[in-house]
Symmetry: C2
Subunit: 440 residues, 2 copies
């Protein structure tokens, strides 16, 4: 413990990162803790899963971000306990547990896949919340085609080359679209022996992209259809096995691949605060981002539950997390300086989702709606801009240009990876398995 | 079984690849089998292990190489048995075993790490023979520094940041040099709290780079020293534990990282031929690359034992494997055409090894010797040239230029990977674990 106030930040996702950046160079000591040694640009995870990008393209070493910020210290480990009375954290390192004190705590541990208690989905579905999920899914998809090509039975071949995505949000749409392009541009040529593969997108409600205006919802659906993705609405998944998916309307789909993009919930770390949580396991807060009845603890990002003036909780979006992280940092500095804290107001710049080559939808400043090529170019440009680091931008740009011009996919390799599900865990990998429950 | 002669090639390394390319478009059916779905450019494995390159930079999808070659078929699987009487192979796929017939067989399964029966080294050492080895080693090295930074005890910190490389051949030299640069250019800044790390290169004989002229051997040693690598000659490793290395001269080095680049031997598949093997588990052959007393079976590359006119076996080098693979393919075509087969003569273009930035040695056409900057530039240029595929060349070039200009390392991520040692195998990964015994 030093003379200067010590601020500990849990999680180097977008919320934690912006909090740390707001505290860099200030007269405080900061300890930034994450399970990984890198920050993940999650909006492009689906492109790693579909062989369009390298893992390193969307990951950035945390220590490098703060290498010149003397007051920011980085620790790779997993926070196990929060003692809000003693103001200490228990952190599991690779080989042993340590204790770290804090004066102020910013919890930004993000969200985890929400299976809504469906154990069949949890056991057989593929999540897409972190880099390991993406690599594991990539391996699985490529392996399905390698297996299918040696199968005599046509029904078996079709099941192996049928890919089901559940969830009509941006992740579901983008994954379904990218999967279809992966097949259409690459796998079709790699495996000429196989019949046409199929990508199916399933959404339980009656619309895709719920928060978008109806016009864009319809456009998204049309663009998916024009690509060749089969869209099933108003139907929920009731059961999943290794080789089938059962839907509420009774139909059964033969497949070995169910990608679960149908829900997220606050990271389990929220339970360590020992207070009643809001729906989705999110932590109720004051508008200053402070936890009610927990001195000196702030929560930001997907874990935070804060309602807008319409009584609606702010969505689990990157810009929300970034703005909350920044505010929490500034409010802590204000407290230290004896000033009043400010309350959160969300500056909504808009939302966008890409469906494939020249296909996308964008809803900007809640006013402007873009579709097709224009929305797609805007999406590409902004995501390049948002990426951390010139090298990653350069590499992503190179891969995108390459894929666009050649209709090729650069990284269709079956590389080692670990099943994300904790049930499959073996001791040596335990901490990585946990990852799926808390993407930093 | 088709009308046309069916040639099966085992292994898509440099030998198998060149054999397949020589048979592409010819009036034969070819089945190319590999454990992986990609060909690995092994000379740059050490750069993946030291965070300089992405795995996908040095891996190339096998199906893509032959996507326009209608007579070349690709199979991802592991050859378990060779029945040279029935002329069939037993191949283990992901989920089950299949049989494949052949008229002619080219075995190019490469080599595996040779621990010379030292179980301690096998259990605690890190091999560097395939992509999984490289990723696993990269993770381990980065993890050592993450662990060291939280250790109070100075001796423990030093042990964690001491990296030992065993083997004075090109792989050992290049790995030691690259490790030191990784520390010097990157990890030193990422972990300012740590004392100076140390890289030690150990060689059992009295010289590095045995096949090179003495002048180049001395130069390599000087260049390593000028970089800061400690070189220990004339000393063999007697024992290795999780936290120490014991040497024949009695000294003990505290370290958690021993990289074993001290030996390779023919892939175990050679034993499936049921005939007396030469030293290093290599298969004795006629100069036509045919196996003695095994009808229609050819062996090429690291598995092949063939002596030059001085009675010395041809070395386990990529150009040898390439030329042997090509000859085996041509000889099979000649047999089919009823022509006499040709015998192997090696066209030696030279050997080279890089030690680090502007540091290298090259011995070209057994005449020209280059050292330092000139040898380094030649090395860079030729390896870019030898890489498969424009995209990989572009990406490697980009990473090299980036690393050179910024003294940065692009991909220092701790990503999922599997311990290469079979003893650690768990069922789900079994086939990948085996990989270390047969790098395609």
């Amino acid at each position: 413990m030093t003379q200067r106030p010590r601020i500990v930040i849990v999680g180097a996702g977008f919320g934690g990162l912006h909090a740390a950046q707001a505290l860099a160079g200030k007269d405080v000591d900061v300890l930034l803790i994450d399970r990984q040694n890198y920050h993940t640009f999650t909006p492009l995870l689906y492109q790693v899963a579909t062989c369009a990008l390298d893992p390193s393209d969307i990951a950035y070493p945390i220590r490098q971000i703060f290498s010149r910020k003397r007051n920011i210290h980085v620790l790779m480990g997993e926070v196990e306990q929060i003692d809000s009375d003693a103001r200490t954290l228990t952190i599991q390192l690779e080989d042993r547990a340590i204790q770290e004190p804090y004066d102020y705590l910013i919890v930004a541990a993000g969200s985890v896949t929400n299976y809504f208690g469906n154990e069949a989905v949890e056991a057989n579905g593929f999540p897409l919340k972190d880099l390991n999920d993406a690599i594991f899914l990539r391996n699985h998809i490529l392996q399905q085609f390698e297996t299918a090509v040696r199968r005599e039975d046509e029904a078996e071949r079709r099941a192996l080359t049928t890919l089901v995505v559940v969830g009509g949000g941006p992740t579901g749409l983008e994954t379904a679209g990218a999967l279809h392009e992966l097949y259409n541009d690459v796998l079709k040529n790699d495996f000429p022996e196989l019949e046409r593969a199929q990508v199916i997108l399933i959404e339980a409600t009656k619309t895709l992209l719920t928060p978008y205006p109806e016009k864009l919802q319809d456009s998204a659906r049309d663009q998916l259809a024009s690509l060749g993705v089969r869209v099933i609405l108003n139907t929920s998944v009731t059961d999943v096995g290794e080789s089938y998916v059962k839907l509420a309307d009774g139909q059964e789909i033969a497949t070995h691949t169910l990608i679960w993009a149908a829900g997220t919930k606050g990271a389990p770390l929220s339970e360590r605060l020992n207070l009643p949580l809001q729906r989705g396991g999110r932590v109720p807060l004051r508008p200053t981002m402070e936890v009610v009845e927990r001195e000196a603890i702030y929560v930001v990002g997907d874990m935070a539950y804060l309602e807008d003036d319409k009584g609606q909780p702010y969505p689990m979006l990157i810009p929300v997390a970034q703005q909350e992280g920044k505010l929490a940092a500034h409010n802590i500095l204000r407290r230290i300086a004896g000033q009043d804290q400010e309350t959160f107001t969300y500056h909504d710049r808009g939302i966008m989702a890409t469906i494939g080559r020249s296909r996308a939808v964008a809803w900007i400043f809640n006013r402007i709606s873009l579709t097709g090529y224009l929305a797609w170019v805007a999406w590409l440009f902004l995501h390049l801009l948002w990426l951390l680091g010139f090298r990653n931008r350069l590499s992503v740009l190179m891969n995108w240009v390459w894929n666009y011009l050649t209709y090729d996919r650069s990284v269709r390799l079956i590389l080692p990876s670990k099943r994300p599900l904790a049930v499959e865990a073996e001791p040596i990998y335990a901490d990585e398995h946990e990852l799926v429950e808390e993407s930093g």
